[in-house]
Amino acid sequence: MSASMLRFASRRTVSIYNSSIPKALNTTIRCIATSPVKTLTETKSSFPDHKFSYEKACRQALVDNTLTNKSDTLDFGAYQRTFKLTISEEEASKIPSILALHARLNLSKNYQYSTLVRSLTCQTADSDYADNLQMSLFGAHLLSYYVTEHLIATYPRLPVSILRNATEAYIGDYSLYDVAKNVWGIEADSTSNLEKYLAKEPRLFRFGRLRFSSHTTEVEKGITKIGSTSELAITKATAFSNAVRAIVSGLYAHDGEEATKEFIKNHILSRKIDVGKMFQFRSPGKMLVKLLKAQKMEAPTIRLISETGRNSSSPVFIVGCFSGEHMLAEGQGSSLKEARIRSLVDALKAFYLYRPLDPKASSDKDFKPLFVDAGETFY
């Protein structure tokens, strides 16, 4: 995982708060006690109807007149799109970058080169070639299914908001852009027709690169024009990620479900994301009290484990968050308040980040259904 991806994953922190407190009351209740510079760090709660990029990819609307169904309108599998032009298998096998990509991804012989060409062709207004729109739509669903399944199996207690963020960190536009560009080495077709002519590049070679109508165009060096007249314009990250999704769906078509699952495991789930860093709690004390009550455990107590330099300029306090005799978490800080809050946050994280010893997803062969947890009983 690249540095930029790590930054992305850590930036996407989620606030969990107690929704039972009325919002108006919650905001005005302690206004006197807050610091005047508090507004700097206050984070607005995310919109409840916010859609992540992987969710948007699953809900792409197909506005296209070419979609036809000759037999029965209710037979949804029979809907097809017709294209004027397609790249044949023979033509596709002459493109060097397609052959290289096929070899780099270690795809099987069943996987046709022409499918890769189609995966790299996004829908544009001026092109009549077969595009990857439906392929990426299906690939988005495949990715979303296997990644969510993996996350639920490994972290069965994750709150829904964290689960969605973790899924986004795996298969969001920016992650898949990183996979496509930096791992798979897919290139965007950015040169003009004149440049291609001057370079004496065969016409066919452009189909080996990712072709899409971009939101931004570089007019000249240092000047970027933002905004496109085309309705089909997409961002660079979306175009690259759609190519990945389309390639995944192509694998399903040629090699079947098991191969697709293995491919996703090797290329997507092998990337490391830090789920523990995605948490942010608004009132951890209240939450822990409710959580322990729901788990039928004793209410939390904070005990001082050790301290040093209480009267100095840099004291260190180590406190433990206990439920009865069980220590749930340890917290340290330069004030008792900091140590206490950190211990409460860690106790909550210790609950949510539980991992079974041998996690099995439901699509695995030796999966046995088991009851792990009652879920979030108090939200």
Binding site: G276, V289, R342
Partner: protein, 197 residues
């Protein structure tokens, strides 16, 4: 180098090798003496006091001297079906380090357990109304039989009080120097990390 005599020529290649590798002194005076060990910086004589630990064979449990991580689920949070819950090998510090020393760990704070739930929504509304009118805290406490804390969490201060407090705060903030303001802002930003862990 070595004088080529009849004797040296006669010796076979194998015996030469054997002789060169042996530590015992050879009869021939010109051959350099073979050292018992390759010369290095370590001085066995002066470092004799520096005893090397002789570890018994096998596996060791030697955790890093670091704060426990929430990734290691405490036994109390493990489901009953998990074999780690009853294992003695999982998180042994819970008994060795914590449970035996619990008496030396003073309680700093406990989750409050409210004793009575006599206040209804209507009562809180009335409490808010009286507070807005400027009735003193002691009178409110006496009338509703609630604590100071309950009044502050269930009601909000009146608009007048809020305005007054804000004016006072703004006055104080105006007096802050650039450095003070920066330090205050930094402190607030650091506090955000407490809640992320």
């Amino acid at each position: 180098m070595f004088p080529i005599t009849r004797a040296t020529v006669k010796t076979t290649f194998q015996t030469t090798v054997r002789r060169l590798n042996s530590t015992t002194s050879t009869k021939e005076p010109n051959l350099p003496k073979k050292l018992p060990v390759t010369p290095n910086k370590y001085n066995a004589k002066s470092s004799a006091f520096n005893l090397k630990p002789v570890l018994p064979e096998g596996l060791f449990y030697h955790p890093a001297p670091a704060a426990p991580t929430p990734k290691l689920t405490p036994k109390a949070f493990l489901p009953d079906s998990d074999p780690r819950k009853t294992s003695k090998l999982y998180f042994p510090e819970e008994t060795t380090k914590i449970k035996e020393n619990l008496q030396y760990m003073p309680v700093l704070s406990k989750a409050p357990t409210p004793h009575s739930y006599h206040m209804t929504a209507k009562d809180v509304e009335e409490l808010q109304k009286l507070r807005d009118q400027g009735v003193s805290r002691s009178e409110l406490k006496k009338k509703f039989k609630v604590s100071n804390h309950f009044i502050s969490i269930s009601t909000r201060p009146s608009q007048e009080t809020l305005k007054k407090e804000k004016e006072q705060l703004d006055k104080v903030v105006k007096k802050w120097s650039k450095g003070t303001r920066a330090a205050r802002e930094l402190r607030e930003k650091e506090k955000v990390n407490w809640y992320r862990g």
